[in-house]
């Protein structure tokens, strides 16, 4: 991860779009651009009267509609399940009523796949226009990822159709479609994981696991819908496929509500963690800075997303136990009070959080946040050690960006391997080195 990535996250408004591009994104966009150029160059050789215009328009419209109604997923991800269904079903279209031969391009050849790529690209572009008009991000990365995945599917599947898939039993067709879809889905997910790992600074292996765990239910739903659409088109024709959008919308509605409540949850904890600041117990911005540091360190240490979420919650609320103190600690720096008091604050905080009954893992992290890394059995959880280090760092450095001050704080922590875990401090040093001035 480069310093530039972190800078982009810290101050997104101050950077032009091209400055925010990293190598992974550039590679992806180059691949998508090559596909589009190849598709349109190939199109020049086509006879327009051989194109199944009806199918192209229907599926192009399907894809555009799907891009218009994208879906926000937890963790700031964006998916377009309906567009995905439209594009995949078009790429793997078998038969339409009244057509016995190829259904995408009437003459034999490899033009089918190129046409699929061209139609998908145009559909996506049209669907993205309203987003741009409304001032929302166009979601270029997501569209490029989907285009690459759909192209893979088209280039694998169309030759299989030409080889005579149509004459086989529906069970065989079903199996082939399922396998090729799985390949396409994996391409989509892996590219997504690659971009995300680059974005947030996670390890690729961890990012893949996170991505698969999060995406598989939606992928299953998209896959079933693709199969339904392909076999449905065989019976009822392409225009009538609009009927199948209904069930997809139901699924999408459910996911949207889920992602929505997750976002509200996080916002609420972020906001309410600030009560300690408003009450004068801690310095303004402390809990947010600690949580940001802790999450960055957790990523560096290869924590998976659910663990990171628990870590973020715990870091945000690590000082909540101070509310039970009679007088605020001067400046809120827990580093300056005695060990007993720190243990007490941690315990009270854990009790408050444990009260909810649903955040036991978070409460556990808060409970052991002041325990020394060595000399205790059992050792504190990794998350607690991360919070301890991040909290100490912020108590000593605060919002200051003075490199000497940060170096001194890190040195002090390094010299105390009993209190602070050496591995955590090493990653903290890396994270701190990437820090740039940011308004908090």
């Amino acid at each position: 991860v480069t310093g530039e990535t972190i800078a982009r996250r810290a101050a997104p408004a101050r950077m032009a779009y091209w400055q925010a591009l990293d190598s992974g994104r550039i590679l992806l966009m180059a691949a998508a651009a090559m596909l589009i150029i190849a598709a349109f160059a190939g199109m020049a050789a086509l006879h327009p009267q051989h194109i199944n215009i009806r199918a192209a328009l229907s599926f192009g419209g399907f894809i555009a509609f799907g891009e218009l109604f994208r879906l926000a997923l937890p963790g700031g991800r964006e998916a377009a399940p309906i567009a995905m269904v439209g594009a995949m079903a078009y790429a793997m279209l078998l038969q339409l009523p009244g057509h016995n031969a190829s259904v995408i391009y009437y003459s034999p050849g490899t033009y089918d796949a190129l046409l699929v790529v061209a139609v998908a690209a145009i559909g996506m572009a049209v669907g993205a226009l309203p987003h741009i008009a409304a001032g929302r991000p166009a979601g270029l990365t997501g569209m490029c990822t989907r285009l690459v995945a759909v192209s893979c599917v088209a280039f694998i599947f169309r030759p299989i159709v030409s080889a005579g898939l149509l004459h086989l039993r529906w069970e065989v067709q079903f199996a082939v479609i399922a396998v090729v879809f799985l390949v396409g889905w994996l391409v989509d997910t892996l590219v997504g994981a690659l971009i995300r790992a680059d974005d947030v600074g996670a390890r690729f292996s961890v990012a893949i696991r996170d991505e698969i765990r999060l995406q598989w239910p939606l992928g299953l739903s998209v896959g079933a819908s693709v199969i339904i659409a392909i076999f449905g088109a065989k019976r009822i024709g392409v225009m009538e496929l609009a009927v199948f959008i209904g069930p997809l919308l139901v699924t999408q509605l459910a996911f949207r509500r889920y992602a929505g409540i997750r976002a509200t949850y996080l916002q609420t904890v972020r906001s309410l963690a600030r009560v300690t600041e408003v009450a004068g117990y801690v310095e303004a911005g402390h809990s947010r800075r600690v949580s940001r540091l802790a999450v960055a360190v957790g990523r560096g240490l290869g924590l998976a997303e659910p663990e990171l979420l628990a870590l973020e919650y715990a870091a945000l609320m690590h000082d909540i136990g101070q509310l039970s103190l009679r007088d605020p600690i001067p400046g809120g720096a827990t580093l300056l009070v005695g060990l007993d008091d720190r243990e007490r604050i941690a315990k009270l905080g854990a009790e408050v959080i444990g009260e909810a009954g649903v955040l036991d893992d978070v409460a556990e992290l808060v409970r052991y946040q002041s325990r020394p890394a060595r000399g205790h059995d059992p050792a504190p959880p990794l998350g607690s050690m991360i919070i301890k280090a991040a909290n100490a760092f912020d108590d000593m450095v605060g919002s200051s960006t003075d490199r000497n001050r940060a170096a001194a704080a890190l040195e002090r922590m390094r010299l105390d391997p009993v209190e602070y875990d050496a591995g955590v401090v090493a990653v903290l040093a890396e994270v701190a080195a990437r820090r740039v001035p940011s308004r908090l």
């Binding site: 819908s225 009927v243 209904g246 069930p247 009560v275 009679r326």
Partner: protein, 457 residues
Amino acid sequence: MVSRAARLYIGLVVSVAAVLVAILAERVMRQRDFWPSPTHLINPMAALITLQALFLVCDSGTTPMTSRQTRWSPGSSATLAAVVLLGPVPAALVGATALLSLQRHLRLAERLFNGAMYALCGLAAGEAYLACNGPVGRPDFSHFRTILLAFAAAATVHVVANHGLIWGVHRLNRERGIWTRDGLESSLTLLLASDLGYAALGLVVASLWPIMGWFAAVLVLVPLFVARWAMAQFAEQQRAYAATMSALCQAVETKDYYTRGHGDRVSRGAVMIARQIGMSTDRTEAIMFAGMLHDVGKLGVPTQVLQKTGKLTPDEFAAIQLHPMRGLEIVREIGFLFEALNGIFHHHERMDGRGYPMGLAGHEIPEFARVIAVADAFDSMTTTRSYREAKSIDFALSELRKGAGTQFDPVIVEAFIAAMEQEGWELPGPAEAPVDLTNVTVKDHDDPTAPLPVVDP
């Protein structure tokens, strides 16, 4: 729970369904045409059993959407598939499987009613389908437009019959919910979207049946289960969210011994009022959180001021008056309804315009704030304070009535009293003497019977 009128109504629905199904079944049997187009389906009996199984699976876990009343009932997709493939009577038989529902908590009366209701819905949808010239049996898709139109009519009839029959029960049971004016508007689109979405699944099953037979039902179950999984996740997150919120609010209240549980109780009172005046479920949820968080800004008021004995200086009084603003500062970034923020910010306004922080009067004060103000004052009066014992509920209600028009909105006060008569109110246990005297305030800014003493400037 079930009123006598509702019992009668359920009995009526069950007998009508039984008689109708019997008459129609007898008629088609006599015509030796139980399966209107048996030739097209290889094995209509197997299709019927598959669809019944599909219905049971769909029905095994209807997911609550937002409230007790609004539930997704994906079983309609199986019934509607039967309408296309098999005709009205088999559709009624598919619907009647609700009797055997796998949801264990259902009582016999509920099972009977559900079975009868879905049977009637299936019958009505099937007749509507036939009336629109919908061809029954293995669908011939060269006339897809006809099928689609007839199917749309059948689906609409199913949705209307379903909600109409349920509405009857709720009405007779005097339950208020989605069918109150405001509530209906807000959840109708959601209901229609989900119901028509599921209805479309019925057509999907029917379309794929000629190709893959029973496997079509399995294929359709996948998106259905994924949607249900997402809804379950949503419900779980929502519960976790409410629990976390409540725990954090309690943490905030630890500062003051006597007001512990205040946020929770105000939230409960506000929700009672919201239901009584027919607020939509979304708004009711928002006011629940607003009630919980309304005093969170008190943390920004210096403890010495809260704990001061004797009269307050104007500056100190101003510090107390700032607490709604502090509260707003804390919760502003939560992706809340705008209204909840308004409720927190304005909960100390008075109808006569002499409240704070803005001095709004009458209906300038947002509805949420007017609701919270009543619940807030009521809880303050009915709980013990360091300077007095808890007042009785009757006393508190009469104080609210006294303040109606000057301090409180009379409509809200009456709604609160009516809700109180219906649901009752559980008073918190008598407060024990505080162990630690450092956490005790000697005055309560919420108490309308004891205004804060302020030194005259």
